[in-house]
């Protein structure tokens, strides 16, 4: 597992396709429930859990458990650091495409 780069720009942790899509899905949201995110990304629970754990360990996402009507849910949100890293990563992707055109 590569560590997230400390500088704002291309981020090795976000670079993986599923993690990039997780960050892209969370970026326009305050939060999403685990099931909503899983359905949007069309990935298995285990795959989403694995990538959320990696993002969470890097401080890029906040995972919160809560209960509603006697049932427990998991809520996921992009943290401030995660948003900063994601925005930097997207900017570096744009810079790469500009260089190639």
């Amino acid at each position: 597992m590569k560590a997230a780069s400390s500088q704002v720009g291309f981020d090795e942790l976000i670079h993986a396709p599923v993690r990039l899509r997780i960050c892209a899905s969370l970026a326009p949201l305050q939060w999403a429930e685990f099931a909503q995110l899983r359905d949007a990304l069309e990935v298995a629970d285990s795959v989403l859990s694995k990538h959320l754990k990696q993002l969470s360990e890097a401080g890029y996402v906040e995972v919160e458990r809560f209960s509603k009507g006697g049932r427990s849910y998991v809520r996921v949100a992009l943290s401030r650091n995660g948003r900063k890293a994601y925005v930097g990563h997207v900017a570096s992707l744009r810079a790469m495409t500009d260089e190639t055109t």
């Binding site: 993986a16 396709p17 599923v18 990039l20 899509r21 892209a24 899905s25 969370l26 970026a27 326009p28 949201l29 305050q30 939060w31 999403a32 429930e33 909503q36 995110l37 949007a40 990304l41 990935v43 795959v47 990538h51 401030r80 948003r83 900063k84 994601y86 925005v87 997207v90 900017a91 992707l93 744009r94 790469m96 495409t97 190639t100």
Partner: protein, 154 residues
């Protein structure tokens, strides 16, 4: 490393950006009001504005009350959706289209229909202009939220 940790073929930044846009767009759209709700709401508004000064006020209030079940539907649908992030500032294009919508409703007050045929014509005109301006406002808002999602660190 498992297969979902790396790109299947040689990494292409344009493809990655397309993935980002696709994922963000589908989330932005899923947090917006359903199109059916907007259509029904604009239809109720057009009906009310087409009938003002043609039918009595209790009928107008009765028609306006149709908005209550509509908003109940909206609430029930939206509580099952992800929670949208509000952009720090509204898009200027959104405000322009929303002002256009308000102007359409305001100006419709100057058209007093003299027959039921004119009421139908007024309804069509108000509905078409209101739906166009609301659709354009919605589109501008979605684009602004997408831009905010990938460019704003706050």
């Amino acid at each position: 490393m498992t297969s979902d940790d790396s790109w299947p073929t040689e990494f292409n930044p344009a493809q990655a950006l397309a993935d980002v846009d696709g994922a963000s767009s589908s989330m932005v759209e899923s947090t917006d009001a359903p199109r059916g709700f907007m259509f029904a709401l604009v239809a109720v508004i057009a009906t009310v504005f087409a009938l003002i000064n043609v039918v009595s006020w209790p009928v107008i209030f009765g028609l306006s009350a149709l908005a209550v079940p509509l908003f109940l539907w909206y609430y029930l649908v939206m509580r099952k959706r992800p929670k949208r992030r509000h952009a720090l500032e509204r898009s200027k294009a959104y405000l322009v289209y929303f002002l256009l919508f308000s102007a359409v409703l305001h100006l419709s007050g100057y058209w007093g229909p003299g027959s039921w045929g004119e009421v139908a014509a007024k309804w069509l005109v108000v509905f078409a202009l209101a739906w166009t301006s609301i659709s354009l406002a919605r589109k501008a808002d979605l684009q602004h939220r997408l831009k905010d999602a990938s460019e704003s660190c706050v």
